[in-house]
C-alpha cells in the first residue's frame, strides 16, 4: 500500500532543535522506514503561524507550548493528542530594567507577546505577588524583536523566552524577577498530533517518538558524539556551542518516555491544565460564543476528563508512551 505521509511543523527553539538533527542525521528516516510511513519535517520561522497552519489543516502535527495548544488548535476545534517532550525551567522569564523585585512591576507597561505563554507566565507572576492582572499595561511585541525592544529607552519590563532572555540579561541592568522555574513544569511543550490522523495510523507516533528519544539520548547523555551534535544544533540556532549549552540549562528535555509519562501523570499537570483553561477563558480566546470555561473537555492520562466530556478536544496518549517506556518501539 501507499506509505502515508505525515507533516510535522517545527520552529527554531532550544529544546526542539533535536528534531532538525534527527532529520539531517537520518535518524528520523530510519524510524519512519521502520514503521513504513513518510515523515516530512516542515520548518517554519514563526511560532504562531506554525500553530495556525496546524489548526487550519496544513500540518498534521506541530510542536507547541500548552497554553498555546489550548488557545489555538483546541479552541479552533481541532481534536489534538499531545506527547509532552520538555518543560521550561527558567527559559521563560519576567525581566525588569533597573528594578529587582517582582512587586516593582505594578503600574509598569510590560512588553510581551500577548495571549502567549509569556502572558500566562506574567499572570502567574502577578498572582504569586498578590497583584491583579490589570495592575500592569501590556504592549504586544514581536518575539523576534525582544532584544531590540528591551534596549529601547521606553521599555522597562518585558516577558520573554530564550534565547532572547539571555541576550537581554547581557545588558547589565536586566533583572529576572520571575521565571518558569518558579512554576515548576507549568510551561511544558509537546508534540501535537491530530487525533484523527493518529487513530488512522498509530505507527506515526511510534516513529516520531522513537526518533526523538534516540536523538535526545545523545544530547542528554555523555557519549563522544554529543559534541558534534551540539555543534550542529548551535549552528542551526545561529549561536555557538557555549551559547547553546547555556540555553539548554534553562529547559528540561525528557530523556525517555518514562520521564514523560511520569510528568504527564503528576497531579500538578491537572492543575496546570485547569489554569491554562482559565487563562484562555479570561481573555476570551475561545471565541465570543464560548461562555463557559468548561465547554471544551481535556482528557488526562488517567482517563479523567476536565470540562465537557462530550466535547473532548485535547487528550494525552498513554499507550505509545508506555510502549516506549518498556523499550518496545
Amino acid at each position: 500500500a501507499e506509505k502515508p505521509t505525515f507533516k510535522l511543523g517545527w520552529i527554531v527553539f532550544t529544546p526542539w532543535m533535536p528534531w532538525g538533527y534527527a532529520q539531517q542525521s537520518g535518524v528520523l528516516k530510519k524510524w519512519a522506514d521502520k514503521y513504513n510511513v513518510n515523515i516530512e519535517l516542515v520548518q517554519l520561522n514563526d511560532y504562531v503561524e506554525s500553530l495556525n497552519q496546524y489548526s487550519a489543516g496544513g500540518l498534521d502535527g506541530v510542536l507547541g507550548s500548552i497554553a498555546d495548544v489550548y488557545s489555538i488548535p483546541v479552541a479552533n476545534g481541532v481534536d489534538t493528542t499531545i506527547f509532552p517532550i520538555d518543560y521550561s525551567n527558567g527559559a521563560d522569564a519576567v525581566i525588569l530594567k533597573g528594578k529587582d523585585k517582582l512587586t516593582d512591576i505594578k503600574g509598569q507597561t510590560v512588553n510581551l507577546v500577548e495571549f502567549s505563554v509569556s502572558h500566562y507566565l506574567l499572570d502567574r507572576a502577578l498572582e504569586t505577588a498578590n497583584l491583579k492582572h490589570d495592575d500592569v499595561k501590556r504592549v504586544n511585541t514581536s518575539d523576534a524583536d525582544f532584544v531590540a525592544a528591551y534596549k529601547s529607552p521606553d521599555v522597562s519590563a518585558i516577558v520573554a523566552w530564550n534565547p532572547q532572555v539571555e541576550q537581554i540579561q547581557s545588558s547589565g541592568d536586566a533583572h529576572i524577577v520571575f521565571d518558569s522555574a518558579k512554576i515548576n513544569g507549568e510551561i511544558f511543550e509537546s508534540v501535537l498530533l491530530r487525533t484523527s490522523k493518529l487513530k488512522e495510523n498509530p505507527d506515526v507516533a511510534k516513529a516520531l517518538l522513537g526518533a526523538w528519544y534516540e536523538t535526545v539520548g545523545i544530547i542528554n547523555g555523555t557519549s563522544p558524539e554529543r559534541a558534534g551534535v551540539i555543534k550542529s544544533l548551535a549552528t542551526a540556532s545561529a549561536t555557538d556551542v557555549a551559547g547553546y549549552e547555556q540555553q539548554l540549562k534553562s529547559v528540561v528535555i525528557f530523556s525517555d518516555a518514562k520521564a514523560a509519562l511520569a510528568f504527564a501523570e503528576r497531579p500538578e499537570t491537572k492543575d496546570t491544565l485547569v489554569r491554562v483553561r482559565d487563562f484562555a477563558h479570561r481573555y476570551n480566546l475561545l471565541g465570543k460564543d464560548v461562555k463557559d470555561a468548561n465547554a471544551i473537555g481535556i482528557e488526562l492520562p488517567n482517563g479523567e476528563v476536565v470540562g465537557d466530556s462530550k466535547n473532548v478536544l485535547l487528550r494525552f496518549d498513554r499507550s505509545v508512551l508506555e510502549l516506549a517506556a518498556a523499550g518496545k518501539l
Partner: protein, 273 residues
Amino acid sequence: MARLLNTKPSQGLTIALGAAPFIAVASVYAFASAERLLVNARDNLLPSLTTMLGGLQRVGFEPDPISGHLVIVADTLASLERLGLGLGIAAIIGLCIGIAVGLIPLARATLAPFIAVLSIIPPITLLPILFIAFGLGDVSKIILIVIGIAPFIARDIAARTQEIPKEMLIKAQTLYGSTWLITLHIVLPQIFPRLLESIRLSLGPAWLFVLSGEAIAAQSGLGYRIFLVRRYMAMDVIIPYVIWIGLLAFTLDLALRWGAKRLSPWSQPGSTR
C-alpha cells in the same frame, strides 16, 4: 463578425461584467468556507458570512469593556494617524529634497546617488536600529514609513522637476527670478499636483509599513489587531479588517486623485475628446 478590439459593452453590461469577478471570488469563498465548516464547525480559517458579521459586530459595534471605545474605530484612528503623519513627513521631505535634486545641480550631485541607494534598502530589516534610536512608540513606526516612502517620493519629484523645460527656467531668470523665487512660484505650483500623485502611488507600501510596524509593537491599530487576533486565528475579524483597509485605501486614493485634479486647473485643456 465583430472584432473584439472594437466591441464596446453597453453601460448595463459594463456594470455586470465589472461585478462578475467580485461575485466569483465571493462565491468561491462561500463554497470553500461551507466545505471547511462541514468538516469542522469550529474552523476559523474561512468563517461564514454570519460569523464575520459577528466578528464585525464585536469590533465595530460593541464598545471595548476596558476602554469604552469601539475597537475598530480606535484601531482605525491609531493607524490613520500613523499613516497620515508618516506620509505627511515623507511628502514634505520628499518634496524638498526632490525639488533641490531636480533643480540645483550641486544638490543633485550630492544627494541623487544616496537617495537611489536608500530607496533600494528594505527598511524593515533595519527596525532594531530604529527601535533603539527612536524608542518602541509611534515615533519608530512613523519613521519606518518615512524611510520607506520618502526616497521614492524624492526620486519621483526630482524626475518631474527635471522635466520642467529649461526654457521656462531661463525665462523666469530673465524676469528677475532668483533660485528661491523660481522654486516658490514656478517649480512648486507645477510640481504640487505631482506630489499628490506620488503619494497616491506610495499608499500601498505605506500601508504595508504601518501594518509591519504595528505588528512588531503596539497597543492599537489595524495591524496590531490583525496580528493579535492571528494568535487565535480569528479570521472572522481579520477578513473584515482587510476589507476595511481596502476600503480606506480606496477612499484615500480617490481623494488624492481628486485633489491632484483640483490643484491643477491649468493642466486640463478645454474639451478635447
